[in-house]
């Protein structure tokens, strides 16, 4: 939802007012709410606030979590961390609208030895999984089970893109 006054920024302040016995709701962005001097209740920011209606042509789907851009607009939530990379162009305007910035300057988690170890272990696990799946794939092709082969290929792709 966009601000009812300026129509530029997401409405984050919502309040009810009674004029001549008629109750009406107002939805304003934080800037306009500030100018109007109203005190309201906050609702969670939604992307749809910035984009208005979903863009029908956008059929991209995040490869990691399979979330579409339409879903993101509707829920106001992304599906995984990779969505930010994948939909960077689409999301940046809204992120700037919310924070007035686009670059993190706070704390950075350090990559400890423990984390490196688990990363390696997980990679090894994935490598082992892929090796096994590739064997299955060869076998399926040899036995002319092409439907199975297609499924196994999908699985291999899933494991590989998880990395």
């Amino acid at each position: 939802m966009l601000c009812e006054k300026c129509g530029k920024y997401p409405a984050t302040t919502h309040y009810k007012q009674v004029i001549n016995g008629q109750e009406s709701e107002m939805h304003l962005c934080s800037r306009c709410a500030g100018e109007e001097g109203v005190y309201g209740f906050e609702m969670p920011d939604l992307f749809s606030a910035v984009f208005g209606t979903p863009i029908a042509e956008n059929v991209k789907i995040c490869p990691t979590c399979k979330t579409s851009f339409d879903e993101i607009i509707k829920s106001g939530r992304v599906g995984c961390g990779d969505c930010y990379k994948y939909f960077e162009k689409e999301l940046m305007q809204s992120i700037f609208g919310m924070h007035g910035h686009t670059k993190h300057i706070g704390a950075t988690p350090k990559i400890t030895e423990d984390i490196k170890k688990t990363d390696n272990a997980e990679n090894n696990q994935d490598n082992a999984k892929i090796t096994n799946l590739k064997k299955d794939l060869e076998k399926a092709i040899k036995e002319e089970r092409y439907e199975d082969a297609a499924k196994i290929r999908d699985k291999i792709r899933d494991v590989e893109t998880q990395e």
């Binding site: 984050t12 302040t13 309040y15 009810k16 934080s30 800037r31 709410a33 500030g34 100018e35 109007e36 001097g37 109203v38 005190y39 309201g40 209740f41 906050e42 969670p44 920011d45 992307f47 990691t64 979590c65 399979k66 979330t67 829920s75 106001g76 939530r77 992304v78 599906g79 995984c80 961390g81 990779d82 930010y84 990379k85 999301l91 809204s94 992120i95 919310m98 924070h99 007035g100 910035h101 686009t102 670059k103 993190h104 300057i105 706070g106 704390a107 950075t108 988690p109 350090k110 990559i111 400890t112 423990d114 984390i115 688990t118 990363d119 998880q162 990395e163």
Partner: protein, 337 residues
Amino acid sequence: MQKYWYDNENRIAVSSRIRLARNLDKTAFPNKLNKEDTAAICKKTGDVLTAREYSFGKLHYIDMDEFSQNVPSLFERHIISPEFANNYHGKGLLLSDDESISIMLCEEDHIRIQSISPGDDLQSAYKKAKEVDDVLCNNIRVAFSDELGFLTACPSNLGTGLRASVMLHLPLSESQGRIPALSAELSKIGLTIRGTYGEGSKGFGSFYQVSNQITLGITEENAIKNLNGIVKQIIISEENLRKEAYKPVLEDKIFRALGTLKYARRVNSAEMIKLLSLIKLGTDMGIIKNKSKNSIYSLIINTQPNTLMLNAKNNYTPGERDILRGDILREKLKEVE
């Protein structure tokens, strides 16, 4: 030794909270997860975070499905969010003994660390939250990018993922009509104020939550420092209004509130918060004396509908609850004069 943060009376600044939003790397966020994956993530993070002793003691893992009868009370005490209270099946909660640290697992984000300190003390709340965050980030790879910081389900939490808030008791600022102007000032600098109890533009009992909105492009320290500075100003202005107030009118209001609760037979929660707010103002200003062991604010916490029933180990209709609440308040306010 006091057990809970609300056991002592804190004037004006009732409590300070820090919330950190974190997610596991390369893992779909909770709203995209099935039951098995949700359980696996709760277990993985739960195991890492319960395995050690912190400055505040240990964290205990709570299976929400086994704890379901406590859910409404946890929500009333701000230990869990409304979203989590509505959607807790198959999820976990980590809680410290004094309930000052609570970690919701698989709420909107995989991990939501919440830390609360009594009074105006964001620093100590942040220190405790950071302690948990360090253990988390040193053991599990979290979703992070150099550009956007900690990656969160809602972009409004990107960057530090840190929401700091201070609960303020502002009866004089409210009755003098200062809140709208304050709200306007705050929104210009990326802060918000909202009522703690009740909905809409006016909360019950003059309790307000002041918090930061912006999490990207600001350091944790500056976000906390900015909020701290503003909170100090709001406190000073409330103090001044209390000093300048016309005493006979104020005293009359406060003693009427005390008189009502000392004798009333049926009290609903809205009236309870309204009147206890005035009694708290009276004790904080030295107009009345609280000789009991309970802080006035702890009475607000403990006589909310679901917490009341949980303490009484019984379910009541709203009508029965109002009678029980009246009984408890009469008893607890005996030593308040």
